[in-house]
Subunit: 291 residues, 2 copies
Amino acid sequence: MDWNLIRTFLAVVDEGSLSGASEKLGISQPTVGRHINELESSLGLTLFVRGRSGMALSEAGLRLIDDARAMAREAEKFALKAAGSSDNIKGNIRITASEVVSAYLLPPILCQLQSAEPDIEIELVANNHADNLLSRDADIAIRMFRPTQNDLITRKVNELSVATHASRKYLDNFGHPKTIADLSNHRLIGYDRDDLILRSMTALGIEGSREMFAFRTDNHLIYWQLLKAGAGIGFCANHLAKELGDIEPLLPELQIPNLPMWLTTHQELRTNLRIRRCMDFLGEALGKMHL
Amino acid sequence: MDWNLIRTFLAVVDEGSLSGASEKLGISQPTVGRHINELESSLGLTLFVRGRSGMALSEAGLRLIDDARAMAREAEKFALKAAGSSDNIKGNIRITASEVVSAYLLPPILCQLQSAEPDIEIELVANNHADNLLSRDADIAIRMFRPTQNDLITRKVNELSVATHASRKYLDNFGHPKTIADLSNHRLIGYDRDDLILRSMTALGIEGSREMFAFRTDNHLIYWQLLKAGAGIGFCANHLAKELGDIEPLLPELQIPNLPMWLTTHQELRTNLRIRRCMDFLGEALGKMHL
DNA sequence: CATAATGTGTTCATTTTTGAATATTAAATG
DNA sequence: CATTTAATATTCAAAAATGAACACATTATG
């Protein structure tokens, strides 16, 4: 029994198609198809119904996915522990962070890291969703929330101070809000599906809903472009506001709680020299920033 | 990451050498060596110390075997469940039983099974140690003790009546024991490392040790040859004594408990049509024998 | 200390697996 | 109903993995 066929099987289940799985696995679509055929004939089972759009699991296939997944979990554990045992400084390391952090905080720090550890190749994965450190989407994650998965080592390295901001252009056009209550007469910029702002407001005792925002976007870059262009009042990290220019802080009495910045890696990787060096360096560098 | 490399890794650990693993896996020794090299270089670890006699696990390798084993367990579960889903009557089936049962009870029954189910190929694995139905050493086991592994379906199909026997030749030479106490003045034939006889005797309230046997062997065929040749007094299933001829039952007052005969398969396989048919047939055929 | 036994490493021809290109199919769409 | 789209199957040349044979190393053993 070829264990790799089970891995391919699982990828096809997860992606829903041979072509999707081929991309995920980094092998060609014909090969994925052949793997599935081989698995089916070696088990004497029909695992998929070759249907209208892609591959749908058959009943027999359905019965097997839990075991296949369990096997994949153990494979992940194996790979993690193996990576943790490596004391080789040479190699690459994957760091993940939100788009904002990746774009505005990390570049200079990673340059210094590069100089300090020339043997380490650094991959930066910028995205806003929580990734799975267990399946090694990344080795190190920098997030604005404390990761909840088990077996992780988390360390709070800094805090981002946030305040209400608007561009001078907006303030010239629509006036300066004097009180928090004033905000309801202004145009606000918010997130669309991300409920970070709404949750923060609820925590501050201010009720609100998605509809209160005149502009909504989940793309932070566009958010600031809207802010800069004078589309409305929004929330922005203070260090970023300085960098963007043209934007003024408002309502100092609206104390928005700082956003914590967490540096995270998997427990198994703490013994990996390369990752330990990077963790220490990033913790030091991020920690001494004035945000 | 190639999952098959982990399977090879585990085989080398279990067998202690590349050549041993190659035999176990049914691949050539150079291939096993290449797999290990590839795994080591892809993990950046030295898993084995290539030593004087075979491959000894390194510290890093030692840390990984538990996870590798866990993965193998899940692979077994997957394969079991897959086999259980098969409703294909064509195919082969592995039956395991003790050498005695394999040699004296099963042949005629398996011939009938062959006629009744011509599409099923039957493999008979004769050995005296408990095999691992979980790892599919066999699909169906016939044992004289109730298997203890979990997730097995066990069914008691018959009992073997056993009595003390000796050949006429022995009785002519050494006389007929009249009472149980008399036995201590006779030559007894016993097992060597197998303690079945001793345990049975303890259960009957008779104390004894290996040393009380004038002849000791674990090979049942040789046991009976000794019995037939008049080497001593021994224990023998009644149906077998008739078949062997020349052997007489002794001491009817020494009531030896019957040996139960258990028919066993793995729970996951109960839904496999082929195995279900064989189980039913064997249960019926073994059950109606007069033993 | 030669020899047998046992194990790993190497070479090369063969077999197997793979991927690029392409054909094919079926549903969705205008 | 033709067209687009998104998927699976097929073909064939190239790449990779494999095994047989053999070289080499080490340990028992007489």
